[in-house]
């Protein structure tokens, strides 16, 4: 204790002097990279007051140094984050803008450079395009069918796993295994399970006396089947996110709730859920974006791998419709307009989410 104080006092007195002496003895150019410690700057200023008036050259040198330093502090962080934005610009922003430009034209994949101005034609056409509305509706209904049970189940599972469990690591790893499985592999297995003539699910239904279901060709049945694939893949992932958030809830909240006589269920609804609000909102937003972009599952659910989404387009999502227009029908302009419509819808959802989040914060 005493020792530290002494060194502290000594150090405080010696530091400026030391720094000044070093600087005078061996003047070196300021390094442009790396952030110098703020202490060095302070030392410089301290010495300026004590030393005799410096020469004009020295003055300039110091001014340059301090300018460099300020520039460094100000701009270096941008340099550090630049790589991400360069990559994003090349592979995110540029395609986004180019897609926007293409969406204003008639372009065919047979001659992608040969663009014919169409104004907003591709967008106005979407308004009356029943296949677009069908795909939007399917995206929405599959999204709801997949997201709602998935998040509720994840919440329940996380709650159970939040208790002291034997082999909790094992359970956590198992939870995440479906997430680590490739979409293609998982979907192909589910397609076999949901087969009409030779599927295991229809066989099991038959064993309990239920007529076989034509999973492919019904609207609800096919969307339900696809939703189960999504649920299977993503529930574990969301469970772990919820679990992490639950473990950050202070134990004393539960203790005081228990002292007040709250049951387990009441603890869950009155302590856990309110503490998890921001996390729940996060998972809702992420799942919504995922649902909007749903592509691989419905594509591979169709036995021929066709982007039409069934004979009646009964499970064609927006992603599949975009793909069909662009890469099967070869209409790049129309496909770009669908892509931008999807982007705008996501923006709209983001705004709604932001408003909800603000409300939630205010109500707390």
């Amino acid at each position: 204790m005493r020792e530290t104080t002494t060194t502290g006092t000594d150090g405080a007195g010696a530091a400026p002097r030391d720094a000044g002496a070093r600087d005078a003895a061996a003047p070196r150019p300021a390094r442009s990279h790396g952030a110098p410690s703020p202490a060095a700057g302070g030392a410089g200023r301290g010495r300026a007051g004590a030393a005799p008036a410096p020469s004009a050259a020295e003055e300039r040198r110091r001014a340059r140094r301090s300018r460099r330093y300020r520039r460094d502090v100000r701009w270096s962080p941008y340099a550090f984050v630049a790589p991400f934005f360069l990559v994003f610009g090349a592979f995110g922003l540029f395609p986004l803008l180019y897609t926007g430009w293409a969406s204003l034209h008639r372009v065919s994949l047979t001659a992608p450079t040969d663009m014919e101005w169409a104004g907003l034609g591709n967008f106005t056409r979407l308004l009356g395009d029943e296949f677009f509305w069908n795909a939007l509706g399917n995206t929405f209904s599959i999204g709801v069918l997949a997201t709602v049970p998935q998040l509720l189940m994840a919440l329940g599972l996380a709650h159970v796993m939040n208790y002291r469990l034997r082999g909790s690591t094992f359970f956590r790893v198992t939870m995440l295994a479906p997430y680590a499985t490739s979409v293609a592999a998982a979907t192909l297995v589910f397609v076999m399970l949901y087969g009409r003539d030779y599927g295991m699910i229809n066989w099991a239904l038959g064993a309990v006396g239920v007529d076989p279901v034509d999973w492919q060709n019904g609207t609800l049945s096919s969307q339900f089947a696809i939703s189960t694939i999504v649920i299977w893949r993503w529930t574990g992932y969301n469970t772990l996110i919820y679990l992490a958030a639950m473990q950050a809830v202070p134990r004393d909240l539960y203790e005081s709730a228990a002292l007040d006589g709250a049951s387990r269920w009441q603890q869950f609804t009155h302590v856990t859920i309110p503490s998890l609000r921001p996390t729940i909102l996060f998972t809702v937003v992420v799942s919504t974006i995922g649902a909007m972009q749903l592509f691989g599952e419905p594509l591979l659910f169709s036995p021929g791998g066709s982007p039409a989404g069934g004979v009646d387009h009964q499970y064609q999502t927006l992603g599949l419709y975009l793909y069909e227009q662009g890469w099967v029908n070869l209409h790049l302009g129309r496909a770009s307009a669908i892509a931008w419509a999807m982007f705008l819808i996501l923006l709209l959802i983001a705004v709604v989410a932001a408003v909800v989040a603000r409300r939630l914060r205010k109500s707390q």
Binding site: R106, S108, L109, T110, A111, P112, T113, R125, D129, E130, F131, V191, M192, G195, R196, D197, Y198, D214, Q216, N217, P303, G304, G305, S306, A308, V311, D312, H313, W327, V328, N329, L330, H331, G333, R334
Partner: protein
Amino acid sequence: MTRMARRTRRSRHRMAAAVAATLGAALVAGCADDGGGGAAERAGSDGRTTLTVGLFGTFGFQEAGLYEEYERLNPGIAIEQTVVERNENYYPQLLTRLASDSGLADVQAVEVGNIAEVTATQADKFVDLGERPDVDPGDWFDWKWQQGTTADGKTIALGTDIGPMAICYRKDHFEAAGLPTDRAEVSRLWAGDWRKYLDTGKRFMADGPDDVAWVDSAGGLYSAAIASAESRYYDADGDIVYQDNPDVRAAWDIATTAAEEGMTARQEQFTPPWDKAMNNGTFATLSCPAWMLGYIQDKGGEQSEGLWDVADAPRPGNWGGSFLGVPESAPHKEEAAKFVAWLTAPEQQATLFEERGSFPSSPSSYDTPTVADATHDYFGEAPIGEIFARAAEGIPTQHIGPKDQIIAENIGRSGVRQVEQKGLSPDEAWDEAVKAVENALGR
């Protein structure tokens, strides 16, 4: 532990040395390239010119030993192929590469469903193969030659195989239904008319085994029927006329009647359940182009051996077949064109038929013993050379337009299959099909 660490460090040194050496070599190679350039740029270390071949699906050139043979005949040439499994993925990739003039192989395959679009929109990107001295237009069926030729007479792709169609049928099911099983008698049951094929189907459904359908799928039946018609979706002037074409309506009626009467096994072709149905023998007949026999043998397996046979289709038609072209920006245009001319010549087509079952598009090969005497043991020693040659010579000359494939797909899926799978009436389904086609065609 220490030893391991040291070894790691040493191997890291070695790795660094290897990387440096590679980079150095690349630099040297880069300099050498500047000097050499031209045809030598892709020459392998043994000094041979490597021709690349871009294919989809299974052509079987390599398996039939044709690359090896060409390499033996032309010592300076090596051949390498890259294969994309599905044409739906291959074709868009080909189009983008043609548009950017990069990434193209020396030889690119084109499927018959896309050939009209390629000749109509990409002709300037391909080398003219029609004027070559080693290519004789008389070696091909005229319709096959014309499909690879533009309106102003530039032949951008040469035909490989074609898909003349027959009917594959199960003798055991025919016998159980009291129908003849001999292939000549079976052919006579429906000769000349798809409606007779349906009538036979009605008899089969009444007298045959309960759990066996007459035909695998309404979609397959529609494809077969439209392939044997005089015309399809375009008229001779190149206008889209599918809505008013009586030939389309006739094929539509055949397929939707079969669907409505429950004569189909409600399968979708080339899906695992279809394979399984073939294995279990749940349908009695199937329109089979020559290239499908191998598939049926694969999926039918041992338990169906000797049960299948091949009869003439009610009317002959063509389903499938491909073309090979040489892009203008190919690194070795001349060598590639020479190779394509050789690969599509009658002798090589006959070899491919013998080895792989792809039927030649060259009628002059039909008299060679390789084709004329060919039989298929899985199909009860059926004389497939004779049957398919007869079918090939009867294939109608149809005008195929750029969007033929898309129109066919949408009529098949939104139309025929909606009758079969969802029980729509043919009229409702036709309206749905027209909506889908029009949406797919509208730019």
